[in-house]
Symmetry: C4
Subunit: 232 residues, 4 copies
């Protein structure tokens, strides 16, 4: 049986890394599926990720409601997590963010395509969810299961989904892969933004995306070591 | 009766947050209406916001003159505050700034429109005040009650006004809302600037702006906790 | 008689401020005319400005050669200083830099015009010196009196001169004014760069430049207090 | 005979400088030819450059395989180093990186030309290596001697080569020159990127590049002193 404390500690570190590397700010959140209870996931109560400590992490069911009565306020957008874990058994970790690198693409509706080796981890196609399609005018947030399920449908079997005028949601097979994908997708967005100012951009070929997306775990571990050291 | 020390301490923290989050630099200032004497407001004497301490905060009347004889130099642009408090009883806090995110819009005269959920707090329309309309060529500053009143008329019932070739002024229903609006308006300006480089930008719909502008106090408190912790 | 130590200490602080505020990097330098001997100026020996200490400051004549035999290497471009002090008796402080904010204008040959209140301190017109006009192909540096005199002619009675594919040189009536003008000119360059991406830019009017250029010494002192505190 | 410890310490410092000045991130690496055994070079085992210590540095032959059985994982792309040392006897130090300043040029395929004095150190022409020419679709990395040799052919007798959708590789006559060229090439890329947004860019003339490329060792030492002090 997995030592629960380890998962919680990893999730705290993921929160701190994603804040320190510029993916998360006062808002946004990161969760992990409970390794012992796949129908539950772990997520902080409502708090800026940069401030999250182990005591803030609690368990949620796939309905995105806390397993035990909570003693603190909850993230309004926790339904993103429950609905994606429900729809995607392969997903073991999720991050929702509003990174300055990615937001301009959500605003302009410009496709975010892979343009360098690690950017391939986003996949060849990053779908764009428009909350108006199913819900008309809203405050843009995902605040119930219906909206979470709509977002999960838009994500489909992709690795990342842009959310119109709002942000992005990224998934991973574990916390280390998730963090690596979230950070490198932001780098890719920055490179693409600048490359587009220089001229027409031809992205990676389909074959390159397929090959480059298989980043060796050792490479991801090297990055995690660096980023975790910065917040230790 | 409100404990005065609390308001003064909050105002000091607002100064430090706005400097640390890139809204204020050596210039710019933030004030709060006196909760016990609505015809007075609290504002530092002339000092860079990053350096303001409780002892620098003094009381001003709605004529923007100090209630007691001052022992330090005053901000030349304090008339911005008095005239807006006079014209807008609903306004309890004001920030005047020259953030690098917003200045390009003041220079190019490009409309600053909401393009993400928190940007909606600026309101659907951010007016632009052109000091030449009432005063011709000036040094661009607001240095007397006539100029302050002109700016207040341009602000109207909006939440923020751009000042041509100069900066911006933001208002709030309290210091926490003001700080949140000032910071997120700068983020919105940055996202819009970059999105415009990617292509045509369709902002939030009128319905989205109306709904998203109602940011829950708990969300603003989460951001204040983070930002205040960084300058504590 | 002026206390020499004060001037030297001010010059050290000017070096540190200009490095910390992003104007100077490993290269570039700042000097002050000797208040007691107007035909001499004070400048560090060859060292990154961020590392300059009082012991590095020595005296130079208007021929840009050290008054006493030097015990350390000298800046190759010290002729910029001697020739401008010779040509401009009103100039009491000089900074030569390669700030990232200004370089793009030196490369593109795009006019750097004032677009906000403090930018007016650059003056309505910032000339561009092209070293090819008098010297053909060089290594772009100013390494003798002839080149320094050519640059001084291009500066004329202006406050700042851009140097094609190289950097900029700024002058002031004292160190505090010089530092303020150098920093705010970089801010102006950044605002102009971004505003140009947003659309056509109409700069300040001639009347606005004239009025806004007269920044009160108290305002410059407020900025110096902030910036000096950051490097103390 | 050279004191080996000195070279190793210099290589550690080069790792730290290149990370701190924004050239290297979690990935990328820097090597030096062994001064005593020109058919060998020194390079860290697999680790983020910011974390490299002397104990991580080991010796490799020109086949890019470790001289002694390694006790740690190796950089997959070490073949870049061996093949360039084999092809270019004049090269004594190499850096492979993915700097955000340079990546947009690798993505857009826009020529990186010298536009300021230190940029001339890149040489008048920076070739672009396209891994598809010899290998078709790959994961974009250089993971064997054939790929390393192909890259070395593309480099030819140049000082730097861009790698399509991947990064750049820079060479030097010693570590100090290499570090200076790598950092200033990134600055040049940033200046060029911004200048292109301002208008048409005419780079340095051929004569200027030739003259400006001969940066005096004293100037490079001044920069090294500054940058090394920041990571000491």
């Amino acid at each position: 049986m997995t030592e629960p404390r380890t998962v919680v500690q990893q999730l705290v570190t993921a929160n701190l890394i994603l804040a320190n590397e510029g993916v998360l700010d006062a808002f946004g959140h990161v969760s992990v599926r409970d390794p012992d209870q796949p129908n539950q996931f772990l997520l902080s109560t409502s708090k800026a990720p940069e401030l999250v400590v182990a005591q803030d992490i609690i368990s949620y069911g796939l309905d995105s409601e806390p397993v035990a009565p909570p003693t603190a306020a909850l993230y309004a957008e926790r339904y993103i997590h429950g609905e994606i874990y429900r729809a995607r058994p392969d997903v073991l970790a999720i991050c929702h963010h509003h990174s300055p690198a990615v937001l301009p693409f959500c605003v302009a509706g410009k496709p975010l395509v892979p343009v360098y080796q690690h950017g391939a981890m986003m996949g060849a196609h990053v779908p764009l969810w428009d909350s108006r399609d199913d819900f008309g005018d809203t405050n843009l947030l995902v605040v119930n299961s219906e909206q979470g399920a709509s977002l999960a449908r838009s994500l489909g079997d992709a690795k990342m989904v842009l959310m119109r005028h709002h942000g992005a949601t990224v998934v991973g097979a574990d916390l280390q892969e998730l963090v690596f994908r979230a950070v490198t997708a932001c780098k890719n967005a920055e490179f693409l933004y600048r490359a587009l100012a220089l001229g027409a951009v031809e992205g990676l070929t389909a074959g390159e995306v397929e090959k480059a997306a298989r980043v060796p775990p050792m490479a991801m571990a090297r990055a995690w070591q660096l980023w975790a050291g910065r917040v230790a």
